[in-house]
């Protein structure tokens, strides 16, 4: 029999987190700091709107792009947070999570052989999405001494005549790094000179612990070459609702919508009704959750300082990315040993790119009590390692 699987698919590397989670799932009493989703439930008033829409019998498809009222609210949100106006009718597309929008953007923009610059460590889906869309990923290995921000010289060095797209994953999973306004401004000339398009994955935009998050779309000349991606999962603790969106220039949005209609039709209707409520009345919930994450972030940084564990201070998302280089172990070995000896699960930095070697990702989407217990065990573990 012939091999049923397409070569392109067989050749895709499985997610590095997967392998590690398989070990975790076999261990019963392990404490995990590995999960990448909020520990909060979706605020009740938002869930209630979802339930109400079901009670009303709103169980139909929506239009392919999504409910008009939701697109209106999204347009208002981006305008009030970034000062950029998107036309809700032609420049906003509701997707099944931000992850669908990433896939659509790659497929809509890439011709065979087009190069896509992906700064790493970052979310594990960019490379496979680019590959499946026929593009060629070009990875930039970000540096800890730059707090994992993308520097103009790094971008310049990665550009070739074939460069089509740049992925900007900030606030960043797994490092927690952010790009501030000056960091972004330093890139815009290079982007324009080289006529590059941008996928700006801003799914963690509401979880930024310095001044407000700045999007690249707010800078001059950027809106027309950017696909702005955001969603409800992280800001409103709505992961299971599977709802995200893309804002893009009309000519791009219409093509993304074409792909979306052929494979998805439309995003889940119940989730869309709930999301309208989230954008209209969820501001306070977001602020409260952000404060809670920020408390945990400060707590973790202080614990690391006490342990003498080196970690740059991250200002975004809900991850910290401490260095474990002093122990002379690979990230994989470190995490496996930590799990075996102390039953604490953290994710090896290498799951997010080769340059994640020497780091581990710790999620603080956990209660302070949970973090305390886990950090206590990590402290014991590194003391044992230091004692040899």
């Amino acid at each position: 029999m012939t091999d049923p699987i397409a070569r392109k698919v067989t050749e895709l590397k499985p997610s590095g987190i997967r392998k590690f989670f398989d070990i975790v799932s076999e261990m019963k009493d392990a404490i995990s700091l590995g999960v990448g989703e909020p520990d909060f439930d979706t605020p009740w008033h938002i869930r209630d709107e979802g339930i109400y829409s079901l009670e009303k019998g709103r169980t139909f498809y929506t239009s392919n792009s999504g409910l008009k009222e939701l697109r209106n609210e999204i347009s208002k949100y981006v305008e009030s947070s970034q000062g950029v106006k998107y036309d809700p009718l032609h420049e906003v597309l509701i997707t099944v999570g931000g992850s669908e929008a990433i896939d659509l953007a790659c497929r809509a923009l890439l011709n065979p052989g087009d190069e896509v610059i992906i700064p790493e460590p970052s979310y594990v889906s960019y490379v496979p999405c680019v590959v499946m869309a026929g593009g060629k990923p070009v990875v930039i290995n970000l540096r800890e001494e730059n707090e994992f921000r993308l520097k103009p010289e790094e971008l310049k060095a990665a550009i070739t005549p074939k460069t089509k797209l740049l992925v900007l994953p900030y606030p960043n999973n797994p490092t927690g790094a952010i790009m501030e306004k000056e960091d972004l401004e330093a890139l815009t000339d290079i982007i324009i000179e080289n006529d590059i398009y941008i996928i700006s994955d801003e799914i963690y935009s509401e979880l930024s612990y310095k001044e407000g998050h700045v999007s690249i779309v707010s800078l001059p000349g950027m809106k027309e070459r950017t696909i702005y991606i955001n969603g409800f999962s992280k800001a409103y603790a709505m992961t299971g609702w599977r709802l995200g969106y893309a804002c893009a220039p009309g000519n791009i949005c219409v093509q993304m919508t074409k792909l979306h209609q052929f494979c998805i039709m439309c995003a889940p209707t119940t989730s869309q009704y709930a999301a309208i409520e989230a954008l209209k009345h969820g501001g306070r919930d977001v602020a409260e959750m952000r404060d809670a994450y920020n408390e945990r972030r400060r707590f973790l940084m202080n614990e690391f300082k006490k342990m003498g564990l080196k970690c740059f201070e991250p200002y975004g998302a809900f991850y910290v990315f401490p260095s474990i280089k002093e122990f002379g172990m690979t990230s994989d070995d470190f995490c496996t040993e930590l799990l075996k000896r102390k039953k604490v699960a953290v994710v090896p930095g290498t799951a997010f790119g080769e340059c994640g070697e020497g780091f581990v990702r710790i999620s603080y989407a956990y209660s302070i009590d949970n973090l305390k217990e886990a950090l206590g065990r990590i402290d014991e573990f590194i003391k044992e390692l230091r004692a040899g």
Binding site: S15, I17, F21, V24, V124, E295, R298, F299, N302
Partner: protein
């Protein structure tokens, strides 16, 4: 962070975690420990912080308690409104809280006793006997689902699944 904001942050934290370690709280809020202690002191003196309580679910203990919520209608007194009658009521040790409310009644009282009898005795002999009290409606609390912002009925369980990416 200005003083007002600082105070609100401290109060919000203490309202739910009265026993929090202040050094830890300082780290979490990005403040100095001494600043928190000073503010707490000041707010205690100003009567903003009135106490540090423990939220107890007595139903889970062997101790028998009965809680009732009593709505009271009463005649206000010239120049003093309901203050005098409220004071006469809140002085009873078994009375837990006394609120002035709007609507069909004037005061809302919560009271704790060991038995139904104890509470009915309070209502008939003490509360209704007050000259200013015109009538009252007593509601016994059967179950507390949520109190002081804390859900008592159910414990939080982490049901998140392992998922990649």
């Amino acid at each position: 962070m200005d003083k007002k904001e600082t105070r609100i942050k401290i109060l919000k934290a203490l309202e739910h975690e009265a026993r929090v370690d202040i050094a830890e709280l300082a780290v979490r809020l990005g403040m100095e420990q001494t600043d928190i202690l000073n503010e707490m002191n000041e707010m205690e003196k100003e009567g903003i912080i009135c106490g540090y309580l423990t939220l107890v679910d007595w139903d889970k203990t062997d101790e028998q308690t009965v809680t009732a919520l009593i709505e009271v209608r009463c005649t206000p007194q010239r120049g003093q409104g309901f203050d005098v009658v409220a004071e006469r009521i809140y002085k009873y040790a078994e009375v837990n809280s006394v609120y002035l409310i709007s609507g069909g009644f004037d005061l809302l009282i919560t009271i704790e006793g060991r038995t139904l009898k104890e509470i009915s005795r309070f209502v008939t002999e003490k509360l209704s006997a007050q000259e200013a009290v015109l009538s009252c409606a007593t509601h016994f609390i059967l179950r507390r689902y949520k109190d002081h912002g804390t859900i008592l009925a159910k414990k939080y369980e982490d049901e998140r699944q392992l998922i990649t990416p």
